[in-house]
Amino acid sequence: MGKQAELLAMIGVVPVLASVLTAALGPRVLKHRSHWPTLAALGYALVLSIAMLFSMSEGSSYTAGFEWLNMGRMDIPVRLVADPLTAIMLVTVHAVALLVAIFSVGYMHDDPGYARYFSVFSLFVFCMVMLVMANNFLMLFIFWEGVGLCSYLLIGFWYQKPAAAAAARKAFLVNRIGDFGLLIAVFLIWTQFGTLNFAEVFRQLDYRYLAEGKPFDGAIVVGERMLTHAQIVGWPLLTICICLMLGAMGKSAQFPLHVWLPDAMEGPTPASALIHAATMVTAGVYLVARCTPIFIHAPQAQALLAVVGAVTALVAALIALTQNDLKRIMAYSTVSQLGYMFMALGSAAGNPNLATFAVIAAIFHLFTHAFFKALLFLGCGSVMHAMGGVIDLRRIGGLKKLMPWTHLTFAIGAAGLAGIPPLAGFWSKDEILVSLNQASHGSPYGLLFTLILGIAILTAFLTAFYTGRAYFLAFWGPERIPEEAGHHAHESGRWMLIPLFGLAAGTVLVGILFGTPTHLFEHFLTQSESLPKFQAVHGSGMIVLVSILAAGGGAGLAAIFYQLRPELPSRMAQAAWRFYDYSSHRFYLDEILGLILVRPLKGLAAFIQLFDLHVVDGLVDWVGQVPGYLGQWFRPVQNGLLQFYALASLLGLAVFVIVLLAKF
């Protein structure tokens, strides 16, 4: 116990130490060596998390912490807890973060905000780590917003650029909408369960869940109130789940709150790789996975989750088809893949026995996705670095020869994303499809999940297609180098290549090592206490075949379109110009949101301002003038005649005395 607690505390403390150290010493002392604290901390933390992973064999959780807030019934300790789910998240975060940090050393090397970058980077890792180690909803929320802050700071890293500043604000605000939901969920959980502790909440729910089967007519004491079972498992739980889902949608960029993520690409590419691809955006998935015991009781919410995921996956994939900015394609693919994970999480709707498998599928996809998406982003970064910041696919091309290593790793990443076996993406995507397939049989939402399964397969096809498109346009064909590149147009340096290799290796290996072939991941995660009893689901050969066909078909089509017959795409675009227009304008979602949300609110603000100035304040001023008007009425009384005054006072006195006498 003690040892594990120390491990946890160290994992939490080390990155923040690095952050503070870099912030304090960076600009004056460390300067170009500002990355060392971060690298050291991340390396150390990675070792610790792996140690944690291996010592987790018993499936137990460990805690360490102190009182943070204690008032009334609100008792919030800062307490770290580790279970298998956390351990996996920790390893993923630290591994990807370390590699991205190494990449950043090369990528950011002459930026004036070098120290600032690494300071925020470490802070982000700290927040992310604490987010996954939190043992209660409030701490989770705190670090949930913390990662949001870091994301804001990194998107707006080059704050001189108006686009970056606007994107940063947009990200923060859209996230806040999600946070609103999460906060409401926290309040609801607190009032309904009387505690914010995960384990406590889950235990109570479990108890109730068990009681459901029995003839249960008593009341359950929650906090200070007596509630019947129906009162708790009914709408409050559904509301909690929908609010939690809103939070997850904001952070994980689900439709229609996904609009911030593509804009977030204004930040430095490595930051995008870490935050907006591999780790932070998966926090929503983590949250839903963590709260599986709650979601089990609200199948409607789970179904909604799957629908949202499906819509997101499809819409993002469609948009990605026609984007020309390499990073934006990757951003939309991230959105799409997150939608995939949501679909998986939702697939347990009305079928509690499937829940664990669904969570495993989603988390496994999260795990593999972190590797290949970080790889792809870093690849983009490498290209961008070489091309002097230009990643417009219309202006670059044929970089295969110029940047051979980048090309190779990018190809691996792209294949991983497209789901080409035996790379990581294939295995995880396959599991999701299996889970969806299972859901479409024998659950109350079977028909819905059949549709969603279809969408998932379609999305898989589209994913392979646009990934292939990006890959072929960037690396094949005639060599095109924009003039901004200048003397930079060469293969990236050591600092940037080593992480690429590391991530490529991960992309190739993790699927085979941990996935369906070995079931290691499955076994490990099922030790989690909070997950219901595991029931193995066996994939069918049909699904595997369809998956391979979709991936291969998409990639092949991309090869035909952009390599063999380059004139086809423009003809297609002309033929289906309406669709092309919608897609390239992202279905006008930003505009629609602006029209139905932002503009009316701004109008409301202007109206309220005028209302305040003229009605509320006008009323106050009017009331202030009333004495003046009254005074005008009574002015003639002051006529300056001494005797008139005396007469008035004497009459008054007489009346007063008479009134007084009338009482006797």
């Binding site: 019934r73 707006g156 001189q160 650029k161 108006p162 923060f172 909408i177 946070d179 409401i184 701004k602």
Partner: protein
């Protein structure tokens, strides 16, 4: 020694005011030094009190206001009747003390005073002796309100704060200063006169119930606990107290004096107005309304304040969103923030009320900081229009950093002070009445919207600054400005990262008060 601390804290500024007036306007340097010394002395006393403060033990619902006896001063002041028998006659007392309700507000006030003196260092050139004397008078008044444990003394200090600020706005303010000062003064005075009626009603109706006459707040609270006032009378008293306090807070429809006064006031005036004077209203609710008329607070306070505060949060946020003047935006944001505060207060449970008290301190720190920083911008560019400014981060990185920090604290980012207060307020309200809390929570989205828009417009993007004198280099924050802001920043961080010590010192009072509310409701049910 300890007994004199409160006296020293309150009267050091008063003494400084006299000295400053005697010095006359010519000795600018001396004036500043004396004022700063007095403010620092007050701060030292306040910190000493906070450090050595011991919560009186055994606090119950009957006796929520037992101040720390180590610092208590109690001297009969105005005797009501001579008592031939030698028994203590009922008298208005000079009764000062510190308890969990006032402790942090006292520290906040003393801290903000130092900042206020420092920020006025160079910007006040006309008649500085008058200015600093008024500032010091204001400090005395504000500290006095928080220390007063006698209902009449409380009211005296409460009204005493009006006058210096009236002159500060009216003499050293902006172009519309006369109108602003007059409105501020008349509006708040009109309300607080009704409050006086309420205060007198509390004392006299307790006497009417056969209790011995007293003006001491702890005594009154005890009497009310033993024999609560009748329900209808409670409601009238509540409404009377509400009239003045709601204007002071200011709650939604009574807020219009605030933006005007803020915009026109000199920077130090704005800082103290937002940082401390608005708290007099919320503090009044906490000190007078809730313990004295608990039943009315539940019966009419909750729906009334709940609706007004919720509307105020959204309304203030939208107004702030529409502003182009930075100071006006901050002023409207105060309306929203105090909406949170009131929401927490009238949750009437320990979480909500402690959140409200913490939020008072937080708002003092964050909004005080915002006004300080806006003042610094105004000192440099002589404009407060967002449209005229842009990309200031490049010119003044430190100012930009602190501004960013302050805005984040103001929008309630976890890890900074604003969050703890808002969270406790809203969660308290959620337990009491979820609908208000949900609407109030929407306010945090809007808060982020207008503050981040302001940061984006003024501090991000390409550099844009109004024309300043030829060849003049706009400097970043200097040491004086840093020393005015950094203590506040540090306190923001501390409260945000580890609020427990702050909350622990107010915990007994809060739990006693919430206990009292519960008792009042129970009595109502079983009657």
């Amino acid at each position: 020694m300890d007994k004199c601390l409160l006296l020293m804290m309150i009267f050091a500024p008063l003494l400084a005011a006299v000295v400053v007036l005697l010095l006359g306007s010519n000795q600018l340097v001396r004036i500043r030094q004396v004022s700063l010394a007095a403010a620092l002395l007050s701060l030292l006393c306040a910190l000493h009190v906070a450090w050595h403060y011991q919560s009186a033990t055994g606090r119950t619902a009957e006796e929520p206001f037992a101040s720390d006896p180590a610092f208590e001063i109690r001297v009969p002041w105005l005797s009501y009747l001579p008592s031939p028998s030698g028994a203590p006659s009922p008298s208005i007392e000079f009764h000062l003390g510190v308890d969990g309700l006032s402790l942090w507000l006292i520290v906040l006030t003393a801290l903000l005073m130092v900042s206020a003196v420092l920020i006025s260092w160079k910007s006040i050139q006309t008649n500085p002796s008058g200015y600093y004397a008024l500032l010091m008078l204001l400090a005395s008044g504000m500290l006095g309100v928080f220390c007063a444990l006698d209902i009449v003394l409380f009211y005296i200090f409460f009204e005493f704060t009006l006058l210096p600020l009236f002159f500060l706005i009216g003499l050293w303010g902006g172009p519309q200063k006369r109108y602003a000062a007059r409105k501020f003064f008349l509006y708040t005075l009109a309300g607080s006169l009704v409050t006086l009626v309420g205060l007198v009603a509390i004392v006299l109706s307790l006497v009417g119930q056969g209790q011995p006459m007293t003006f001491s707040l702890p005594e009154l609270a005890r009497q009310v606990a033993i024999q609560p006032l009748p329900g209808e009378l409670q409601q009238w008293i509540f409404l009377a107290l509400f009239a003045g306090l709601a204007i002071k807070v200011p709650l939604f429809p009574f807020h219009t004096w605030l933006p005007l006064a803020h915009v026109e006031a000199p920077t130090a005036g704005s800082v103290l107005l937002a940082g401390v004077l608005l708290k007099l209203g919320t503090y009044g609710f906490l000190r007078l309304c809730i313990p004295m008329v608990p039943l009315a607070s539940v019966q009419i306070g909750l729906p009334l304040v709940g609706v007004l505060a919720t509307v105020g949060i959204l309304y203030g946020s939208f107004c702030a969103l529409a502003q182009t003047d930075i100071k006006k935006m901050v002023a409207y944001s105060s309306v929203a923030h105090l909406g949170f505060c009131m929401l927490g207060l009238f949750a009437l449970n320990a979480e909500g009320m402690s959140g409200a008290l913490l939020q008072m301190v937080n708002h003092g720190l964050s909004t005080g900081l915002l006004f300080l920083l806006v003042g610094m911008i105004y000192d440099r560019y002589h404009t407060r229009q967002m449209t005229a400014l842009g990309g200031l981060n490049q010119r003044m990185p430190i100012l930009g950093l602190i501004m960013m920090f302050t805005c984040l604290s103001s929008i309630g980012l976890p890890g900074l002070n604003g969050f703890v207060g808002e969270f406790l307020c809203l969660s308290g309200m959620f337990a009491r009445h979820p609908i208000y809390a949900v609407w109030g929570t929407l306010g945090i989205i809007l808060g982020a919207w207008y503050l981040l828009t302001f940061v984006m417009k003024c501090f991000h993007g390409p550099l844009k600054e109004p024309h300043v004198a030829e060849g003049a280099i706009i400097p970043d924050m200097d040491r004086r400005e840093l020393s005015a802001t950094l203590p506040l920043v540090a306190l923001c961080l501390w409260i945000g990262l580890y609020p427990k010590p702050f909350l622990d010192r107010m915990k007994p009072e809060m739990e006693a008060l919430s206990q009292r509310i519960k008792q009042a409701q129970k009595v109502q049910v079983y009657r």
